[in-house]
Amino acid sequence: MSDATLPDGWEMVVGLEVHCELSTATKLFCGCANRFGGEPNTQVCPVCLGLPGSLPVLNDAAVTFAMRLGRALHCEVRPSVFARKNYFYPDMPKDYQVSQFDQPTNVEGWLELPDGMRCGIERAHIEEDTGKSTHVGGGGRIHEAGYSLVDYNRAGVPLVEIVGKPDLSTSEQARQYVAELRAIILAIDVSDAKMEEGSMRVDANVSVRHPGEELGTRCEIKNLNSLRSLGRAIDYEARRQIDLIDAGDRVIQQTRHWDEADGRTHTLRSKEEADDYRYFAEPDLVPLDPSAEVVAAIDAAMPPLPADRRAALVQTAGVAGPIAAIAVERDLDGLALAAIGAGASADRVMTHIEHNLSDDAARDLDPERFAALVTMETGGELTATQAKQVLAEMVETGGDPSEIAAARGFEAMDTGAIESLVDEAIAADPAAWEKFVGGDDKVAGAFVGYAMKATKGQADGKAFTALLRERRAATGS
């Protein structure tokens, strides 16, 4: 397990670079299908294979998707220019990547974490993905491979790289940042953002310093395939750097590879070995200059974003922030607002959402019926336990709460029945009753337990305890 706390007097500075594959029908510069999981090298053509003489033609849909993502991150959309990033790698067909360099499409935005913290976004630029190498034989790792196979299906898939500012100071914040970014991407429907399939890939820049000091030397960590890896790797890396400095050593700027199995980062290459990418404007493409109307149309079509949805729950229904965040994350905020709007208790609605509605099917729940259930519960017709059971069945079948309650024989006990239950409980354990009368409140739990057992959980615990206390007061007087 990683240790999330740093030694006293140290803090970490984290900035994330997130690559997101856009879910356009076709690739960035050609008509090949943009689809995950095809047979190797079946979704290729002269353009995405970079064959001699081929030329790129920009996919307008990818630009629209990228601008939508930029606007969702509160970026300014600017005139932009594609650039070639030159370096040799076998999975890159042209041995240069078409990306954006000094004039990216989206600049200067921000992303809000569920707790309200704003993290700066430096830029969100468009680029093409590479193919995928599989190293066969040898030790399985890059430097030990016997030979390599390359699948170019992914080559030319449109990507947006979202470069965050180094505003994060814990691994938990980094995880929240990625989770929030993913929620935004899903809300605006520009990618399936699956970390495990690589359609969303995160690199973390980590450095450490004493508070108030200049930024330390950073290392970039790659191969973070889950939120768990991200958190573990950042914590490991910060500790590694602190240990180095404490030992009188210094941090060397490096790219490091996270190994999930051994829980460490390993040197991939140092800055001295890094490529000089020799960026220059891509002469085969023309500059982009989206009109104000185009950007306005993107804004107008923007669906509500997670932060707006959380705010709506907090403001409209007086719901607490963290619970609102859960509701939005599970895409149940619409249900909650509708049920509350139909008169259900916000408190009970949110309790159910937090504890009893984690199943995806809960999104299909009818808000009217959900509200009716909550009203039955608050009106005393159902106990909390009964309500939970009815709700589970509603999620499964979509049925009506009163019908389900009736079918299960859930009827509110009248006061007489509860009083007989109190009598029974006292008679069953006179010694405990003595203690209770003597002021020992802890034994009340034993009486409630008896009542629940006797009624197979159908008793209203609250009403039972109230009567029990009434009886004690009467005894005392």
Partner: protein, 475 residues
């Protein structure tokens, strides 16, 4: 008159009317190739059987009452950097040995659609880098007017093919003069169209922002005919100008009465051989006599063109040629790991001039040098564009030599810098993106052809070719 000395326009007219068969025309040209190709080496590959099949298809179409198109039965030679589906396309480089393109360049498709018969792939300086074809990995082509002389380059093979009567038309590519200079040295017409007028899809890139495909022909009218077929918007090339192919022949012979012609001061002085300069003066006089208003014009930044070009073109080339790494196609020299394999392949596969330019370009783009070299060269390019625009405020076309000298002997310019100076007059049009044509206009003291260059503003091919046709008529 034999088929090999008549014009493309005449051949197409005869074939369309049924008075001659495409097959007969082709056989005459194949015979000419067979007779003189061993001596001249215009071609890397002659595709006789495929040419016969397409000639027969043209004849079948005519027999069926269909119109095969404006180039019906006209033999055309293609520079070997234009992709032809299933037919070796080498760029005269060992590194592409064995590669068969799976697609046709847009210009090749358009030629086929116009009824042309492709006879083969012509020799060039490796990856179009050179001015003599001496940089071809498969040996140089020879000038048909004097086989001890170079034909010029890089599209030397295409110029030779037209000059020797192997084909009435050929396509080349022009990045810094690679159509116009060999046209001048071989005594044929060569056109570098406006950047974006002809699709580059399927042209193997040398320097993407400068490369442009254009025609070789024996007459200005034939060049216009071929340009009409290959020009026009292509959605496969993002830099292709979105407008249809222009009608260039309708006004071709309207003369130059009232047109303003400017002789470029900066391109007619130092470094131009006197016999070449004399032919430019003669051309100016002839145009003046034909009714044009001839004046001196100035494009001051043009003198920096060569320096800017030898930063911009190699920079783009260093990136464009990175893909020849042995991984996917062409030559591979095996080695224990991928970077060593890349290195061994490129070391064995590229010739010296290509390596020189890759190194120049890599250096010009490197961190710390970009601003001083590539960045500054781009600023010079902007100045050249500005100076041309200013000159065209006063004149309709500009006149200069095409090449500073007539065809030179093999090995005469083995120093790269001396060789680079061949392109001093042609490079400015590539940097500005404007069109230019070389028209043969007499011979030099050595009896070898001299070409005169006519330049025009972007998309001014109609006026430019009109002046060229008028000049041609005064020969």
């Amino acid at each position: 008159m034999t088929a090999t000395t008549t014009t493309a326009s005449a051949i197409a007219a005869a074939v369309r009317s049924g008075s001659r068969s495409a097959r007969e025309v082709l056989e005459e040209h194949l015979a000419a190739i067979e007779a003189r190709e061993p001596e001249l080496h215009a071609f890397n590959l002659v595709t006789g059987d495929a040419a016969r099949a397409s000639a027969d298809r043209v004849d079948a179409a005519v027999a069926a009452g269909e119109d095969p198109g404006p180039l019906a039965g006209v033999p055309v030679a293609l520079k070997d950097n234009l992709c032809t589906r299933g037919v070796a396309t080498t760029c005269s480089s060992r590194i592409l040995e064995g590669w068969l393109p799976p697609y046709d360049a847009t210009v090749v498709q358009r030629l086929a659609g116009a009824g042309a018969v492709i006879v083969g792939k012509t020799n060039l300086d490796e990856f179009a880098m050179g001015s003599s074809t001496e940089n071809s990995a498969f040996g140089p082509s020879r000038n048909p007017h004097d086989t001890s002389r170079v034909p010029g380059g890089s599209s030397g093979g295409s110029a030779v093919a037209v000059a020797a009567g192997f084909a009435p038309l050929a396509l080349g590519s022009d990045t810094g003069g690679s159509i116009r200079q060999p046209a001048a040295l071989c005594g044929v017409v060569g056109v570098k169209p406006t950047y974006g007028a002809v699709s580059r899809y399927g042209l193997i890139a040398f320097a993407s922002s400068l490369d442009q495909i254009g025609p070789f022909a024996n007459t200005v009218e034939d060049a216009a005919l071929l340009l009409e077929v290959i020009a026009g918007h292509d959605p496969m090339d993002s830099t292709s100008i979105p407008r249809p192919a222009p009608d260039l022949r309708a006004g071709l012979h309207r003369g130059v009465e009232g047109l303003r012609v400017g002789v470029v001061r900066e391109l007619t002085g130092d470094g131009i051989a006197p016999d070449v300069a004399a032919r430019v003066t003669a051309a100016a006089d002839a145009l003046s006599a034909a009714g044009a208003k001839v004046t001196e014009a100035s494009v001051p930044a043009a003198i920096y063109g060569l320096s800017a070009y030898y930063l911009i073109a190699p920079a783009e080339a260093s990136s464009n040629l990175a893909r020849y790494d042995g991984v996917r196609y062409g030559m591979r020299v095996d080695a224990p790991n991928t970077p060593d394999m890349n290195l061994a392949t490129r070391t064995a596969g590229f010739g010296d001039e290509v390596k020189r330019r890759i190194m120049l370009g890599t250096y010009a783009l490197s961190a710390g040098y970009y601003d001083a070299y590539y960045g500054k060269a781009q600023k010079v390019r902007t100045l050249i564009i500005r100076d041309f625009a200013a000159a065209y405020a006063d004149v309709d076309v500009l006149l200069s030599p095409t090449s500073p000298t007539t065809a030179f002997a093999f090995g005469a310019k083995s120093d790269p810098l001396t060789m680079y100076l061949n392109d001093v007059c042609t490079i400015p049009s590539n940097l500005s993106g404007d069109p230019a044509v070389s028209v043969p206009y007499g011979v030099g003291d050595d009896g070898l052809p001299v070409g005169v260059q006519i330049m025009a503003p972007a998309l001014g091919e109609d006026t430019m070719l009109r002046v060229a046709a008028a000049l041609e008529a005064t020969r």
